[in-house]
């Protein structure tokens, strides 16, 4: 037994509050970081561009939605809209501001703040509206944002096709490319940037949950009236949750457009994507950050895997429409089955497994 939860003794409060209290965890984190930073960039271009980077971007949006829906309990179907704000914000910041002032990482963060502010505006009704009724506000955000960027072509630089490819020079920030002699548009540097942002923000989210703010979020989710009786300002908490969540979505949107696809395209931020993100969240498990990542990986990879398996077995005997329909059917059934087996998603499944392992070899 390498992994033991017992025998961890602490002698002061600082150590008691550590995010990774166990030695084993610390070692694993360091090894994991080394793996992600040193090994993964050397894998194939295809691996990075088709699997790793999109999962990083979408997963970040799921973490953002988790803060709003899973932790603060405000149901949202506007994630893609907020991602859209992030993508267009980044593009316009890079385009309009001089090069010495704006660089990609900074633009991503600032457009995240834009998205957060948009989120706060559409979060205002949440002060009065609760539950499923709140869907209307976030869907309004989704549709409004989409329409807005669709109607005012200024924001895509009057491109008639509605799609703008990201100019290569936008990738070259702080002259790093020149300094190191790397092509910054390549997928490895893109991946490194995405990974750094994701690790930073995931760490922030994880810590947020352990802070007073995070506990306020959760108390608003569990019983908002009781929370207000405890002296927590419910409107303030909800709006803060909207801001943080939409900030994450905004950054994720910027990453998705700039680091993954390489062009700014409105079509990928339609309402379907909001649903996909909510899917990922619920399959992963509400309220759990690691669950969000599991959900994102699963939902993203499932159709790819399914098509691949179908290809291997049937060797393209069916046309794509059939494959897509069957994939939809299997996917739908799988989701229902998973929810029946474990309504709490992967995170709850994992918790149960852990509990079982602790009890092992006794059944309970």
């Amino acid at each position: 037994m390498i992994y033991r939860e017992t025998g961890n003794f602490v002698t002061d409060y600082m150590r008691d509050r550590e995010i990774f209290p166990m030695k084993f965890d610390k070692i694993m984190v360091v090894l994991g970081l080394l793996f992600l930073y040193l090994y993964v960039p050397t894998t194939s271009e295809y691996m990075l561009s088709a699997h790793v980077i999109p999962i990083l971007a979408v997963g970040l949006a799921v973490v953002g939605l988790n803060i709003l829906t899973g932790i603060t309990g405000q149901l949202s179907l506007g994630s893609a809209g907020f991602m859209c704000v992030g993508a267009f914000g980044t593009f316009n910041l890079m385009l309009r501001l001089p090069e010495w002032l704006m660089s990609l990482p900074v633009a991503l963060m600032i457009s995240g703040i834009f998205a957060g502010l948009v989120g706060v505006i559409f979060g205002l009704p949440a002060i009065r509206i609760k539950g499923f009724y709140l869907l209307v506000s976030t869907l309004a955000a989704q549709y409004f944002v989409w329409w807005f960027f669709n109607s005012f072509t200024y924001f895509i630089n009057y491109e008639a096709s509605g799609v703008v490819a990201v100019p290569p020079k936008m990738y070259d920030y702080w002259g790093i490319g020149n300094f190191l002699g790397i092509d910054m548009q390549g997928y490895s540097p893109r991946y490194i940037l995405a990974l750094t942002i994701v690790i930073g923000l995931t760490y922030f989210a994880k810590n947020l949950l352990r802070s007073t703010t995070g506990r306020n979020f959760m108390s608003v989710r569990d019983r908002d009236i009781a929370a207000s009786v405890m002296g927590i300002s419910v409107p303030k908490t909800k709006l803060l949750a909207f801001f943080i969540s939409c900030f994450y979505c905004g950054v994720a949107g910027g990453m998705y457009s700039f680091l993954y696809i390489g062009n700014v395209d409105l079509m990928i931020y339609e309402v379907d994507r909001s649903f996909t993100i909510l899917f990922m969240l619920i399959i992963g498990g509400l309220g759990s950050i690691s669950g969000s990542w599991l959900g994102a990986i699963f939902v993203y990879e499932f159709p790819i895997l399914f098509t691949w398996v179908g290809d291997v077995i049937f060797g393209g005997a069916f046309n794509t429409a059939v494959v897509e329909n069957v994939s939809n059917m299997v996917y739908g059934v799988f989701i229902i089955a998973l929810l029946i087996r474990e309504p709490g998603g992967f995170a709850a499944l994992w918790a149960t497994t852990k509990q079982k392992l602790r009890m092992w070899p006794y059944p309970h």
Partner: protein, 266 residues
């Protein structure tokens, strides 16, 4: 010795495949008696009742061992609504009134299994006779009435199915002592009309006062059973559950716990 109505034989209940809530509960409810099930928070009272009414399934639990017999038939796999039809009905802990229905509508939901609408009307009157307090509130929404009234609505709702056995879960929760007495007095009245009761309670004093028999449950096991009167007399029960020691105050160190052995890894 009258005949036994409900017989729980050494049941084990596991929630979510890992959490063992009951590890051997055996009890017996005789026809026409009031049996109270006493124990601290989390000792397994509610789970026992839900195992009888088969509502544990809805909470991702399952009866993994033992048997439950009602009227000589095994009911461990019976649907809740069929049980109600056979005469076993549960009043849930924390009332669970349908908040958006009026008091009268709430009570009428209990008559779903009754075919004859006229009879339902009669039963409704009977419920109001027992619970005079809620007669005047019959048009108000159940969400707006007081806790005691909600308890009465919940019990009245259960009565509508003309049960032979009511599983009553913590009727005293959050109520004033006076109301608790009132509720138990009604329980006693109903008992005289032939309804048997299995009551889970924390308020041991009141529960034993009105009951015929009592069971003490701790950590998912029955640790003591006996006539309610005898239990009231026992010094250890007095100390643990009634809060009065033999000679006034007792040190908590000396209180006898009923763990036969240490519970397995929890």
């Amino acid at each position: 010795m009258s005949k036994s109505l409900l017989k729980i034989n050494n049941i084990e209940v596991v929630y979510n495949h890992v959490i063992l809530a009951l590890r051997g509960v055996t009890l017996d409810v005789e026809e026409g008696s009031i049996v109270s099930l006493l124990g601290a928070n989390g000792s397994g009272k509610t789970t026992t009742l839900k195992a009888c009414s088969n509502l544990v399934n809805a909470e991702r639990g399952a009866v993994t061992k033992g048997s439950i017999e009602y009227d000589g038939k095994d009911i461990a796999k019976q649907d809740p609504f069929k049980l109600v039809k056979d005469g076993v009905v549960q009043v849930l802990e924390g009332r669970h009134c349908f908040t958006h229905l009026t008091v009268e509508e709430n009570i009428m939901t209990g008559s779903f299994i009754r075919e004859d609408p006229k009879q339902a009307k009669q039963d409704l009157e009977r419920v109001y006779d027992h619970f005079e307090r809620i007669r005047i509130r019959k048009k108000s929404l159940a969400g707006f009435i007081s806790g005691g009234e909600q308890q009465m609505v919940a019990m009245g709702r259960a009565l509508m199915s003309r049960p032979k056995l009511i599983l009553l879960d913590e009727p005293s929760m959050g109520l004033a002592p006076q109301l608790v007495e009132e509720i138990f007095a009604i329980v006693k009245n109903l008992n005289k009309e032939g309804v048997s009761f299995l009551v889970a309670e924390q308020n041991a004093m009141v529960a034993l006062k009105y009951a015929d028999e009592g069971y003490l449950i701790e950590n998912g096991r029955v640790i003591l059973k006996g006539k309610a009167k005898d239990l009231l007399e026992r010094p250890d029960v007095k100390e643990m559950y009634l809060g009065v020691g033999e000679e006034g105050q007792t040190s908590f160190r000396d209180i006898k716990y009923y763990h036969r052995r240490k519970p397995a890894f929890t």
